[in-house]
């Protein structure tokens, strides 16, 4: 299995449970594992009954398993502070307030949240993943995950265009300075081009890693909405040249015993029948294989229950 494993899916289908269970399974099989949550609601803490932050911390009671939670809001603030710091080093006091306004505006735009999340993802892949054999990502709900995965290519093109424009203007400035005149800008050592290049490398790394070193799994519930969403997600992944490795059906209704005939049992039997149809639909109609069928639990998934769920996953470690 690839070093990076992503679990995605519609909101509320149990991505956190499945990714924690998978991480648990990897860790107990002797693979050093890190589980990363990017959901600001932070439910990994609830699963392991322990609080985590943006530094990997070992999970109590499980050898070889670490967890961390990334908050995009914090990430955004950190990015903002970093720029502010270099701003005060470089820029004269008069300009600071002017540029500061621009800076705050750029962190309030709709894309900022996703960009922060994306940066955090890639940073984990690049820097934090060193001591681990496997990093499991518990991603945000499908829509934004897909947009996130589409970012490298899209942003790479954009940066290319910016680079081209910048070079063009500097080239003209250099040409305008004939003879002894000092050109207004120089191509050599231009910090803007340098930064843009670094960004470009960052996106290239991200795109390459997602394509070659990551495996994607989609979690869904056996209802029509969830199945439809999964179909769209698979399509979205295919469009981006990423393949979905498998599908995980979560929260299946348990079948009642045969001797039970009460109203509850009838209700359950009916549900099981419709769910079986949905699962059939998934098995027949979808390309990625159905790798796990996890029954609904009455209690929160924690401790022993997590072990059960982990056993239900037919995913390679």
């Amino acid at each position: 299995m690839e070093p990076f494993v992503f679990f995605g899916g519609k909101g509320g289908v149990g991505k956190t449970t499945v990714s924690c269970a998978y991480a648990y399974r990897c860790a107990t099989a002797g693979v050093r594992t890190l589980v990363v949550s990017t959901d600001p609601a932070h439910s990994v803490s609830d699963v392991f009954d322990q609080s985590f932050d943006d530094e990997p911390r070992s999970v109590e009671g499980v050898d070889g398993l670490d967890a961390m939670e990334i908050d995009p809001e914090d990430e955004m603030q950190r990015h903002l502070d970093e720029i502010r710091e270099s701003l005060s080093e470089q820029v004269s006091a008069g300009m600071v307030s002017e540029i500061n306004r621009q800076l705050e505006m750029s962190h309030g735009t709709p894309g900022a949240y996703e960009s922060a999340l994306f940066d955090a993802f890639v940073d984990v892949m690049r820097e934090e993943s060193e001591p681990y054999d496997r990093v499991v990502f518990d991603t945000a709900p499908t829509g934004s995950t897909l947009r996130l995965l589409g970012l490298p290519e899209f942003l790479g093109d954009w940066i290319d265009r910016l680079l081209y424009k910048r070079k063009q203007s500097i080239d003209l400035f250099e040409k305008a300075a004939i003879g002894d005149m000092e050109p207004r800008r120089l191509l050599e050592g231009d910090p803007v081009i340098e930064r843009l290049r670094r960004r470009k490398e960052f996106f290239e790394y991200a795109g390459e890693t997602m394509r070659t070193e990551a495996a994607f799994f989609l979690v869904f519930n056996p209802d029509q909405l969830s199945v439809n969403e999964t179909a769209r997600a698979i399509e979205g992944f295919t469009e981006r040249d990423l393949s979905v490795r498998g599908l995980v059906a979560n929260k299946l209704t348990p079948t009642p015993d045969d001797d039970e005939t009460g109203r509850g049992a009838r209700y359950l039997r009916e549900r099981v029948a419709t769910e079986r149809d949905r699962l059939e639909q998934v098995r027949e109609g979808f390309e990625p294989p159905l790798v796990a069928e996890i029954e609904s639990r009455t209690s929160e998934v924690r401790g022993d229950v997590l072990t059960d769920v982990a056993d239900a996953l037919d995913v390679d470690v």
Binding site: S106, G111, K165, I178
Partner: protein
Amino acid sequence: MTLADRIETFRATLTEWLRGLYHGMITHPAYEKIEKEAEDAEDEFMLACFPDAFGIPSPVSYYTAELLPYLEDEFEAWERRLWDRESLIERKGQQYHF
């Protein structure tokens, strides 16, 4: 002052005048034109980096904000040029000395 000296002085003055004339009529407008063109290219770059300054949200402005500390002069000049600019024709017209 000998005749040779006077010729020398005359030639020096003439050379200076000619150079001045050439600079004023040919090279200076040419530099200016290139420089204006460079500024235009820079304006486009700045606009592509910070369209949110005009209320157009951009998916990359989160990243281009990183460039702000290095774009102090450009940013100021850009804003000034934008305030100055009445129309594209006016700006382009400045490049021709009628």
